[in-house]
């Protein structure tokens, strides 16, 4: 082996070593960051399975015999189950409505030449800029006039309205990114506009639609302000239900943690299931 090739081999070896070291550093940093973000959630979940004094011990208990008492109490004593059901209903139906209406607005915005469409698109987005607290009183009065206060439908309406700008804006981008020729090919092949939309456009935009749906769902799911003011005792949503464990006498931390775990769970499962779409959807258009 000549000196030159030997030197080259050594240099290659060093480079590989440096790369390996970099990978390790990256892994450690990523691990620490994950722990930092996951920490509170893991703590919440573990506390949900503890009894009162374990939760409040000065040195955190890591190994303990898990108890389901908190969950039992949350479901049986305080009927948190019905709050969860209300949340699932309002979040799901408002997401579906916002997607349907949003797609109906976004598609023509993406495809048709509409005069002043930039302004229209910006105006739609600007609805989202206003802080919700600004509109809460007028909305409350309006809903009271039509007799919707205290009903779950008031939340469905509000969440749909709050989510619409988001869905229109995101879906418009996803539709606009699809090559128009694919739809034109479908028209020439004989398919109606409606059939082309459901058979070609929508399946191709599916990653984007799923990502949009998840974001809309999370917003509606986590919403507290409107739910707190507009719902009655029988129509509480889960985030509002959580506040019931803060009583004048005490704060029932273990129950809060158990209920909180139940609130996080559906979104977590949903995000995991949609992960494949989510990554593709949120980067769609960014990378061709």
């Amino acid at each position: 082996m000549s000196a030159v090739t030997h030197e080259a081999a050594v240099r290659r070896g060093r480079r590989r070593q440096r790369q390996r070291r970099l990978t390790v550093v990256r892994g450690v940093v990523a691990g620490v960051m994950t722990l930092l973000f996951m920490g509170p959630i893991l703590w919440m979940i573990s506390t949900a399975f503890k009894v009162g004094n374990q939760a409040f011990s000065a040195t955190p208990t890591i190994f303990f015999a898990p108890t389901f008492d908190n969950f039992r109490s949350v479901f049986v004593k305080s009927q948190f189950g019905s709050a969860l059901a209300t949340s699932i209903f309002t979040a799901t139906s408002s997401t579906i409505l916002a997607l349907l209406l949003g797609a109906g607005i976004a598609y023509p915005l993406a495809r048709r030449r509409v005069r002043g469409q930039q302004h229209l698109a910006f105006w739609i987005l600007s609805l989202r800029i206003v802080p919700p607290i600004v509109v809460i009183i007028p909305l409350f009065l309006m809903l009271r006039n039509v007799g919707l206060t205290g009903s779950v439908w008031s939340l469905v309406v509000i969440y749909t309205y709050m989510n619409l700008p988001l869905t229109v804006w995101l879906l418009r981008g996803f539709f606009a990114d699809l090559p128009v020729e694919i739809e034109e090919a479908s028209f020439v092949d004989g398919a109606s506009r409606l059939r082309s939309f459901f058979g070609i456009t929508l399946p191709l935009a599916l990653p984007g639609v799923v990502a949009t749906a998840l974001l809309a769902f999370i917003f509606a799911w986590n919403e507290f302000l409107f739910a707190n003011i507009l719902t009655g005792a029988n129509t509480r949503t889960a985030p509002v239900g959580l506040t019931e464990y803060v009583t004048p006498v005490s704060v029932e931390w273990t129950n809060i943690m158990a209920a909180g775990t139940l609130v996080v769970l559906p979104v977590w499962i949903g995000a995991l299931a949609a992960q494949r779409y989510l990554v593709r959807g949120l980067t769609l258009g960014a990378v061709k």
Binding site: R113, P179, E181, I182, E184, A185, S186, F187, V188, D189, G190, A191, S192, R195, I200, P203, L204
Partner: protein
């Protein structure tokens, strides 16, 4: 054997019973975009049943717009479109019974190749068995049978192109529309597909409108070729006629590669000759007639094809130019000899249009004060060297004469 019988059976099993064939007509079709751009100006075109017609021109000439209007994807601001005797101007693309091949193929990426090919038939609610029969027939015709289970992203560019063709061929439309279908392929594949598209057309005999910016593609494929510039039809004729009797300098320059040599000459004293760069070229009776209304001494645009030149003295070649080659390109079978002729270049709008549009076909030399760049295509045996003066011969009857103001041909037959 089986393949032959399948081919015979399949068209008859199509949706319409017997093959539908139809011509295509444009009647005074104009198109102005909302921003005021005029894409097409009063296009009149009559395409015969079963004919292969190519629309050609530099980019922005309106050829794609014409095709999209024909497909119903774009709405003409004026005029009428007729397919197979049926006025379709107001009809949606779905109702026009045409099939289109797009430049970027526009395959359905989420469907398998089989589903892509079956889609136009499924929409027409054709029974499953017949759909399968048609798809298999077209897959075999295009050599796609092995790939039917794949999705478009697992195919090469050439295979995708075939699928796009197949999706058009699978039903029996009144006309095939093709929008630069070969422009995304490499050169070798393009030549192969060119022949194949032509072969398929000759076999099926369906009226085909083919759009391209490539004049070689246009000339080799078209029964007739329509040359467009700035939304205006320049000439619509057989490729040979376009080459030999172009109606104006634009067509003369656009057709043929390398492009025709154009320079300004002067009408001779008794209108029986023209002067080009200190050479007197005596004209035959035909060309003399073309100069009948020109006054002696007035300018005239002269076009000489690179192929017209020869290094051999020959009784047929009654005219000549003394030239000094500035660049000699050896192509094996022939030589391209570039030189300058001491004459002013032709500056009509049409002459400039192709020179700007198609850099590939113009001479490597630039027009300078020294003269106009010319190129001659000579026999490989001719020993032209850079810097060594030569006499190049050509037949005066192969010269083309044009009006120097508007670039129109002076040949009344053109």
């Amino acid at each position: 054997m089986t393949s032959a019988s399948q081919h015979d059976v399949a068209p008859a099993a199509g949706p319409s019973g017997e093959p539908v064939r139809a011509g295509v007509e444009f009647h005074g079709v104009s198109m102005t975009f909302p921003d005021g751009t005029v894409a097409l100006e009063h296009l009149d075109l009559s395409i015969r049943e079963g004919e292969f017609v190519v629309l050609v021109g530099p980019s922005g000439c309106g050829k794609s717009t014409a095709l999209r209007i024909l497909a119903g994807l774009e709405e003409a601001t004026q005029g009428e479109v007729v397919i197979g005797g049926r006025t379709v101007t107001e009809l949606e693309p779905q109702q026009r019974d045409v099939a289109m091949v797009f430049q970027n193929y526009a395959l359905y990426p989420h469907k398998t190749l089989y589903e892509n090919l079956a889609y136009p038939l499924r929409i027409r609610r054709i029974p499953k068995a017949q759909v399968a029969q048609r798809v298999e027939w077209v897959a075999e015709l295009l050599g796609l049978t092995e790939l039917l289970g794949r999705k478009p992203r697992a195919l090469s560019g050439g295979q995708r192109q075939r699928v796009a063709m197949g999706r058009a061929l699978v039903r029996e439309p009144a006309a095939f529309l093709m929008d630069e279908p070969l422009s995304n392929l490499d050169a070798a594949l393009r030549v192969e597909m060119r022949a194949e598209i032509r072969r398929i057309h000759d076999r099926l005999g369906v009226t085909t409108v083919y759009v391209t910016h490539d004049q070689v593609e246009a000339m080799t494929m078209g029964d007739r070729v329509a040359v467009l510039r700035d939304g205006v039809l320049q000439q619509f004729d057989d490729p040979q006629v376009l080459y030999h009797q172009p109606r104006n300098v634009f067509v003369a320059g656009f057709v043929g590669s390398p492009a025709i040599n154009l320079a300004l000459g002067t009408v001779g004293d008794s209108r029986d000759s023209v002067e080009l760069a200190d050479h007197r070229i005596v004209l035959d009776a035909d060309h003399r007639k073309q100069l009948a209304d020109r006054s002696p001494g007035s300018p005239v645009a002269i076009g000489i094809r690179p192929e017209a030149f020869s290094h051999d003295r020959d009784p047929e070649l009654d005219a000549s130019l003394n030239v000094t080659p500035e660049l000699v390109e050896k192509l094996g079978s022939e030589l391209l000899v570039h030189f300058r002729v001491r004459a002013a270049p032709v500056r009509t709008a049409g002459a400039r249009a192709w020179a700007e549009g198609d850099a590939e076909t113009i001479s490597h030399l630039r027009d300078t004060d020294e003269g106009t760049a010319f190129v001659a295509r000579l026999d490989a045996r001719s020993d032209c060297r850079v810097g060594e003066p030569r006499e190049l011969f050509f037949a005066s009857k192969r010269m083309l004469l044009f009006d120097p103001e508007n670039g129109e041909s002076l040949d009344p037959d053109a």
